[in-house]
Every structure is written in structure tokens, then in C-alpha cells.
């Protein structure tokens, strides 16, 4: 129960704002958050928008997909195709990089992101 209390759910956007099987970027204060509508799996994910590889605000414009037998959901930065797990934020292309991930809830056509 405590963990839930720690999370602040903010209204990010409407379902229609994020293209199916793609991403979009929202502004939260000074933060940029990328939201992904993984329509193929009926799942939503959110990460920081900044790609830590070359410090580009670009992950929301990247292609999403899956990797490996476990079908780990991932996003590829459009700049140099570094890929990151949408579950753990870990870099899947072998670099020592990590991105922040956020929990997502969709209620009544509205997308909420959990901020710790």
C-alpha cells in the first residue's frame, strides 16, 4: 500500500495522442517523458525522452518492438539505434546506459503516468 501512496499519477495525454505502435512526448514541468502505445500487445510504457547515448531528446520518435525469446519490449533511438528495454530501462545494445521508466495507467481513454 505504501508504494502506491508514493506514486503521483499525472494525466499525460489522451489515448488518441499517441500513435498505435509508436511513441509521443509529453511535458511534465521541466521533464520530457516519452509514452509508447504498444497497441500490438495492448500495453503502454513510458520512459525518459532523453537518449543518454548522445543526449538527444528523441526516444519518443523511435521505433518500438521486441527482442529475444521473451519478447522484451524495447525502443530504438532514432539517432544511432541504441535500444532500451521498456520494462527495465536497460540498454539492450551493449552499452552501459540506463533510462528511467515510469508506470502507465489508461483509464477512460486517458493516459496517466506514475511519478515517484
Amino acid at each position: 500500500m505504501e508504494t502506491i501512496l508514493d506514486i503521483e499519477w499525472i494525466l499525460a495525454c489522451h489515448v488518441d495522442d499517441v500513435p498505435a505502435n509508436g511513441g509521443a512526448c509529453i511535458k511534465h514541468g521541466n521533464e520530457q517523458i516519452a509514452i509508447y502505445n504498444f497497441a500490438r500487445r495492448g500495453e503502454w510504457y513510458a520512459t525518459q525522452n532523453l537518449c543518454p547515448h548522445k543526449q538527444q531528446m528523441a526516444l519518443s520518435r523511435g521505433m518500438i518492438g521486441s527482442e529475444g525469446d521473451s519478447c522484451e519490449p524495447k525502443v530504438a533511438c532514432p539517432f544511432h539505434k541504441k535500444t532500451f528495454s521498456l520494462l527495465s530501462g536497460e540498454c539492450l545494445s551493449g552499452d552501459e546506459l540506463q533510462i528511467k521508466t515510469y508506470p502507465v495507467q489508461v483509464i477512460d481513454g486517458k493516459v496517466y503516468i506514475g511519478i515517484v
Binding site: R40, Q56, M57, R61, F79, T83
Partner: protein
Amino acid sequence: MSQPTIVVVGNGMVGYKFCEKLISRSNQFNIIVFGEEPRIAYDRVHLSEYFNGKSANDLSLSTSSWYADNGISLHLDDPIQEINCIDKTVHSLKGAVIKYDYLVLATGSSPFVPNIEGVEKKGVFVYRTIDDLDLIREYAANATVGAVMGGGLLGLEAAKALIDLGIKETHVIEFAPRLMPRQIDSAGSAILQSKLKQFGLSIHLNKSTSEIAGDDKIELLKFNDDTSLAVDMLVISAGIRPRDELAKLAGLQTSSRGGIIVNEKMQTSDEHIFAIGECALYNSMIYGLVAPGYEMADIVVTYLTGGDKSFYGYDMSTKLKLIGVDVASFGDAFITEPDCRTIVFEDTHKGIYKRINISNDGKYLLGGILVGEAEAYNILLQTVNNRILLPPNPEDLILGARGGEATEGAGVMSLPDDALICSCEAVSKLDICSAVNDGAKGIDEIKKCTKAGTGCGGCVPLVKDLIAGTLKANGQYVKNVICEHFDYSRQELFDMVKINKLKNYDLVLDHFGHGDGCEVCKPVVASILSSLWNDVIVKQDTIQDSNDRYLANIQKGGTYSVVPRIPGGEITPDKLIVIGQVAKKYGLYTKITGGQRIDMFGAHVNDLPNIWEELIEAGFESGHAYGKSLRTVKSCVGSTWCRYGLHDSVSFAIEIEERYKGVRSPHKLKGGVSGCVRECAEAQAKDFGIIATEKGWNLYVCGNGGSKPQHAQLLATDIDSATCIKYLDRFLMFYIKTADPLTRTATWLNKMDGGIAYLKNVITNNSLDINDQLEEEMQHLVNTYHCEWKEVVENDELRKRFVHFVNAPGEKDPAIKFEPMREQIKAKW
């Protein structure tokens, strides 16, 4: 005691190979090389490529520092004049006197020039050295009609050279009743002849030249049958004569018909003197190919380094491409009944002739001839050399299995381990398979570690098959699949999507893939869908690469660049003003691109639709600078303004750019049109390049700039504009359908078995019988063209996607910052 001195006389391919082999096996020798030519050793086998874009440097077998690096003392432009066998010394033209312990004569051969009246006239050449080629090139610039005396292998090479030099009318004059009399029979010659005619060669058989007439220069060839032929130049290629004069002078045993007589160790009549290559006569035979020359070099090196190896003659089988036609002859090509049985296949429609000679008991292949299609050459040669038992239907060897069970046993993996795969470098099947088992992957690595395929290159397809076969046998065969989600190559998927009429990514993934896709297969499928159906790509924006998703090129910092199409680089003052106004209004940095258009950098994603609305209003269209598609067709000024221009290159460039704009392909495409041979549009560095000639256009394909520059290769000569476009339709569509993802045309061609000759055959001879289809498919793409930006500008739903923050659509990305530079901006980050 000091190191023994070895003097090598002759710095041709065989002399060079001798040095290379010797230093790789021993450092105990002091090596001194004398060469008559001013150049380091070069590749004479591929000499004709000198007229096809290769420079003298490209043909070099090594670098000038190679000799010094390996402690070899090299004397160029300094032929040996005398050998003193008693003192064991050589004397060079420039005065060097060297005492040798061993002497290796690799003096090669010289062209045989028959004693015909007028042979000394200007405009008469031989074809052997780069210097000869330079002389030919210089003279050819002012010649219209050229002739080659001699219809053998070298003569036809020389004829090809004349065609490449732009000689309008090229004749081949052969004394014998057929072409290439040493390699092929009359029926094969007839097929070859009809093929060569298509390339514009006039062939005269049974012609004996009696006089070369003209005032100081050649004007007319007179023949014994009282006919004549007016020509501006003549290249004599009537055979070779071994360079044995030095040996003769030194008292070494030579043959009255030419050649330095050697034993099976390549020793001459003086045991300290060896002769190798085309100057050596073994068992009354001169071996005029490079592979036996290399073998001879190997035998001498083995002897000098204490080994024991002998020469027992050499297989003179050859396969080559003459002016785009495959010709091969192997084993005992001319044996006839009753000493054997022959199986002959002749197709005068496609220009294919195949003959195999089999033993009377039907068990063994003895030899054969292939003209027009020689893919089976390597395996047939192996079947002869390794005395492999023939299948019950030996005709399958040249016809393929027709129904019923395919013939097993003829595959490369069934060859014995000691089968010689690369005869130039004497590499066996076992050598190659072991290298693969030791981890070498791909032909390049095999070339590096075994040297197989580095000589004439003829065995490369066989080596590739062996690599694939070995990997497969080890269970590590890796197909060229797109990614983990699709177990197909791009070409396979292309056909499957087409046949099943699939129109979106999810359907393709559901039908033929697994998992959820990724950043590799999404753009590949997007490109295939676009090349097939040409739908508006932003309708499936999330499978596009970022640039295609936003129809602009993402730049450092996250801004985009805007490139309107400026076909052929031609633009009106009014349109220039509009570009200036738009750039100023949206604060964009402007630069002229390498493709003769104007790039505007620094656009916020939010501004893109507005920028394009203004550009489209002024008559601009998308330039597709963001797409794997046609970028630009660069043009020179052409005949409308340029005093040298032959044709209107600008109009043609515009026509072509307008035709193929928007067509999606495996990688970007660039074109060029030059109005004359000065080539100001640099068309030969493009995926397709068109250069004006007196009679029409020359079409070049598969060139590349970039990190690995490559000259485009000639696909067709002197064609009219309509034919040029037809060939381009076929070429581009063939590329679009068959290339791997992100493979430029140059790499695509480099990987293609058969190379440019194969491609030429497909495009100009319809060898795959697909040209109607290719043209139709291209026409569909042309007919369905749309300006992608116009679609977006006019569609509010699509426009809405060009925002940075979906929850604050009016706000631009605050992370983007600029700083001033030379009165413009640059990204700050």
C-alpha cells in the same frame, strides 16, 4: 657466408609471384629484380579494365614500398642485356653488373607481329603493356573505325578495349575459320559471333591480311581475297612469342619455334638458371596463362628452399568473360567421336552453346565447351579433374535436372579433399574447408587467409559454395535473414508480400513473422510496401525510420532539415526568392547540397507543416532527402549553354528525376547526366549515370561516392533517350526487388554472381524474361506518385502529428538551442 643472390629477370605477374612466394617461405636470399617496364608488376589479365575506369595503380599487384619492405632490390626500366653463364653475372642496360647464385628468367612473351607490308605505319599497335594501352588510347581519340587482327582470346579483349574507348566501328579479323580457335569449336564460335555482333563488333573470318595501306599512317587493310577495309587504326593480336632472345644469346637451349627449354624443375640447360611463365617451354609446350606460370614459380621456390616438387604440365581450362559473354573450355575440349561421346546443347535464340565430351562407357567427363552461359564451369572442371563418376543422365550437367530427382553428387561438397579449387594459388578444397572450420567467414576472409580467389577470380563462386556448404555441414549455416522477426531475405519477403497483396506492417508480421517487430524489420517492410503499393507512407508512420516518419532529416539537437526538390538542379529566380523568404521567416540555416539543391536546417518539428505549406504554394515538392529513394539527378549545363555539350543534359536529368521521384528503394539512389565526355555531372559516381555521346547516351550503373568510391560500369552504349529510360526502369526495379536492405547499387552489384555482365544480360537481353514485368511495375510507381508533403499539408489529422509535446502542442522543444555562426545559426548542444 653471405646470402645466396637470386636475380629475377622480368617483373611481370609470374616474376612478381615468384618473389612473393619466395619471401613467404625464406629470408635466406638476397633478391634482385630487373624489369623492362617503368612500372612495378601489374595485373595483365585484367588489362582491358584500364579502359573501363581502372588506373595503372589499381592494376598494380603491390605497392612500390612492398619491394623495399621485403628487402628486394628492384631495378625498373632497366632490362638485362646479357647473361654470362660462366661468370654467373648479368649485365643491365643501365650498366649494373650483378653476380648471381641463381638466375630466374621470367621474361614473358611479346606480341607476335606478322611480317605484313605496312606494319610499321602509324596507327598500328600491339596490346600487351600499359604503355601500349596509353598509345592506343591517345590515337583512338581521333579514330572512328578500328580493327583488331586476331580473333583469339587476347584479340577479343583488345576489341572490347576499342569499344570501351568509344571507337564507333570495331572489326575483328581472324585468319582461322572460327573465333578463339584454341578454346572453342566451330559451333561455339558461331554462337559467340552472333553474341558479339549484338555488341557492335563486325567479325571477319577466313581473312588473311596482305597489306596495311596508307600514306604514313594506316588507312586501309587489304586482304588476300582482294577485298579491303578502310580503318583508322589497327591492333595486332596475332599470338605471342616467348621472350627467349636473352637465353639464346647466353647459349641456353631454346626451341627453334621459340621458348626456353626447361625440365620438370624448370631448370634450363644451365642448372643455375631457371625459366618460368610464358618464356618457358616444357615438353614442347608454352603455357600462356597465369595459373601455370604461378605453378612454375612455386616449383622453383620449392626447389630453392630445399623441397621437392615437379611440373607435369598444366590444365589449360579457362573461363572468361568476353565483352559480356561467358566463354569456357575445359579438359579435353576438342576430342571427338569415336574417342568419346558428345552431348551438345545449342540455343541460338538466347545465344547459348554447351558441349560436353564423355567417355565411351559414359562414366567420366573428359572435357567440354561453354558459350553464353558458363555457370557450370567450375563444377564441370572439377568433375573432369577429379574423375568423378557421372550421373546416369550426364546431360543434366548442362541442362539441369528436368523433372524427377535432381542429380545429387555433383555438388561442391562431394569433391575430394585434394580437389584443386583455386588453380592460380593452388588452393585445395581441404584448405578452404579447414579455413572455414577455423572460423573464417565469408569470401573476404577466405581470400585473406588462403589466397584462394585472389588471382583470376574465376573460382570465387565455387569458394562461396564451399563456404556455405561447410557452414551448413557444421549446422551453422546462416541465411541472410532480415532480423529475428523474419526468417526471410528481403527479396523473399518482397515477393511474398506482393503475391499475398499485404498492405500493412501488422499483416506482414502476422503472416510471415513472429514477435513484435523491431527497428530493423519495420523500415524494411515499410520500404517493400512502398515499392509495391506506393501508398502515403505517413499513414503507417510508426514503422518508418525517424526521417521518413517526419518527412525530414533529423539533425543534431533534434531539429529537422527541409529539402525541396529542385530537379536537375534547375531553379527559377522566383523559386530561389521563396526559399530565401521561408528560410528567413523560420530562422533556418541554408546550404547548397552536393546534389545541386538547397538544404534548410534547424526547423522545429512543429514548424514543418507550415514551412512546407509555403513551399508547396510556391510550386515546390518534397525532395525525399529523408527517404531511401531517389535523391537527385545531377546535371551539367548541357548543350543549351555549354559550347562542348552534345545533348541537352539538363532536360534529360529533369525528365529522369521527375520520373523516379518518390520511388522507394532498398537504399538511397542518386543519378547524373553529363552532356559530353568531360563528365561535369560526375555521373559515373552515381547509382546511374548517363553521358552523352555523338549518337545518343551511354548508360552507366552502380557507381558510388561515399566511403568506398566506385566507378559506375557501362551498361549500354549509344542508346536513345527512350531506350535509356526503359533500361533505367528495368535496372531500378530489378534493384528494388532483389537487393538486401540498406544496400547501395554498387554493393548490390559487387555481390551479384556474374557481375555487370550478368546484369547487362538481364537488362539488355532479357535473360530472365522479366523485363516486361519490371517495366510495368515501375510504370505503376511512376503513375501513383504523390508529393508526401502535400498529402500532409492538406490533411489535418496528419498535420497534428508534427508536434513535440502532445500535451502542449503549441510549445517547441525547449532543449533545442542555437548559436550564431557566419551570419547564420548552428545547433548548440
